[in-house]
């Protein structure tokens, strides 16, 4: 069953310097209990795509969202502010990157989680707090009743991340959008968080946004690769690693230290000034004349393996 279906989603930000085209005509589907990885570099628009789903933007931000985001039969983009609020956190929760800035430094961690619970459930403060302690226990924070009364600065990086996950899980959402939850964590701590995420999402779907391919391989069933605001490849996790088709995906994998540290030449394009034709052509080793003018479509090459590249046309 499809839980979430995104069709030709565009998220553009009009600014003084021009329109920032962060997400361009993205189609994406998340099945029930599927873990979908969204990988790409800084500035490829992957976080914005995640935030667009639940419209997590400040009201002062000028923004242009088009397309369809159908969740359980409802188009989220047609919902009013009030209606989307009821979905946000309860049905679809987001775990933001950088827990240090996402947690309120002057509120006790337990109270912050309780606050999230009380937004969606009619519970008195005491019960909500008890539930918060329960959540902290669920994410394996040692002596949760004590830790619930501590402030974020008393938590280590890994523990803060766990607290963020606890908050995300508090209202038992069906879909979790996790935006780089392992960023900045040490290897050993990272693996703990990965293990925990795998455990708590067994019965849920997750959109896992990351640039850490190793972690994506551990968690995700399928992987979508994003470049300059659009998807360039989509396949089963195994296929992405064993048989990457798009030159960008290949380059991305080859720049990993364990695969030879061969960088992709040039830099990611600015989202205001996107190249014509294939967005990747100025950096692509296989680019031919036609790549400069023709914009490739997503094509299914093998069963379930999609790629946006004229090489396979």
């Amino acid at each position: 069953m499809t839980l979430l279906e995104i069709t030709s989603l565009k998220t553009w930000f009009p600014t003084r310097d021009g329109i920032v085209k962060a997400v361009n005509a993205v189609d994406l589907k998340i099945e029930d209990k599927e873990k979908l990885g969204l990988i790409g570099e800084t500035g490829s628009g992957k976080s914005i795509l995640g935030m667009s789903i639940i419209r997590l933007f400040h009201s002062s931000v000028k923004i242009n969202i088009e397309g369809k985001i159908v969740y359980k039969g409802k188009d989220l983009l047609r919902l009013s502010k009030e209606e989307i609020r009821k979905i946000r956190g309860k049905e679809i929760a987001m775990i933001l990157q950088n827990p240090t800035t996402s947690l309120n430094p002057v509120l006790k961690v337990g109270d912050q989680i309780a606050e999230a619970i009380r937004l969606h459930q009619r519970l008195d403060k005491r019960t909500a707090k008890e539930k918060a302690v329960e959540m902290l226990k669920a994410v394996k924070i040692p002596s949760p009743d004590k830790m619930a009364n501590k402030y974020p600065h008393e938590f280590s990086g890994g523990m803060k991340e766990r607290a963020m996950i606890a908050m995300g899980l508090a209202c038992d959402p069906s879909l979790i959008i996790a935006d780089e939850p392992t960023k900045g964590l040490d290897v050993t701590i990272k693996m703990q968080v990965v293990k925990l995420l795998r455990e708590v999402t067994k019965q849920r779907s997750m959109l896992f946004i990351t640039h850490d391919l190793g972690v994506a391989a551990e968690i995700c069933d399928n992987i979508a690769v994003m470049y300059a605001g659009e998807l360039v490849e989509y396949a089963k996790t195994e296929d992405i690693f064993k048989n990457p088709l798009h030159p960008y995906t290949q380059g991305f994998l080859n720049s990993l230290p364990e695969r030879g540290l061969k960088p992709i030449r040039g830099m990611s394009p600015s989202l205001i000034n996107l190249p014509d034709g294939c967005r990747f052509h100025p950096r692509c080793d296989y680019a031919t004349g036609i790549c400069k003018t023709r914009h490739p479509e997503m094509v299914e090459i093998e069963n379930g393996h999609f790629v946006r590249c004229l090489l396979y046309d």
């Binding site: 570099e41 050993t188 701590i189 720049s255 230290p257 061969k262 960088p263 830099m267």
Partner: protein
Amino acid sequence: MIEVKDLRKYFSSGILKKQCIKAVDGISFQIERGETLGLVGESGCGKTTVGKLLLRLIEPTSGEIIFDGIDLLQLKRKELRRLRPRMQMIFQDPEASLNPRMKIGDSIAEPLKLQGTMGKSEIKDKVSELIETVGLNPEHVNRYPYQLSGGQNQRVVLARVLALNPDFIVADEPTSSLDVSVQAQILNLIQDLKRELHLTLLFISHDLEVVRRMSERIAVMYYGKIVEIGNTNDIFGYERHPYTNTLISPVSVGVGDIFLEGANKKNTNVYRGLSGCVFYPGCPFAAEICSKKEPEMVEIEKGHWVACHCVT
């Protein structure tokens, strides 16, 4: 080139300075000329402190640092200042290491001006030469750091570091804030420069794969101590210390859970100053002796040293 003997740095904290954090607790190692030594460990294990100590940016509690035959800790301020151009450091966050109100060109020229041996036009030439060496365009000279990307800024930092022709560079997680493809560019650049300019490097990182690529030898640090040191090939493949093992394969069989539980208690040693092995609370192979006696560094093969009771 560099020799460190029993280096210690204790920070005291608390109102009465009674709490003592042993950030670096008796470490010894050498770096040969032209070699890259990788220093790995998790955050908070004291690896940055080691880097800063080597350049005497902070004063050690005790120990010895010999730099090219000179005992750094015996030097007076003025003498140290004269030696400074030969040893430089690259920090984690390039944006934070550059003055946001200074143009890139001026930032690179600053150390040359401070040195005071070059004229204005000479400095200008040198700056354009450096800009080229690190792969930036001449027009970048008049830009400000905020106008450049993270990778470009790290190149600026490199140019600045190279300005004074150093022999020894401490690179403290130079790519941890960069994307993988940009990281690959910067790491390759560092490798090339090292070869061309015969640099000696201490490469600090928590990313094992990066360190593996960059270094000839690797030292593994855990809570203020070096627990294993050896050639890169020895550390990857013939690692002997249980901690190195967990780092290399954090999900490896059997170690996982026990280690993870122990990891939450790992701070205790540092604060309480317990005796015994630092890794004891988290170690899956801990025996009785591990809680009582601190293991010594033992050479198990040529150039491969391990501090663990279970191995020796």
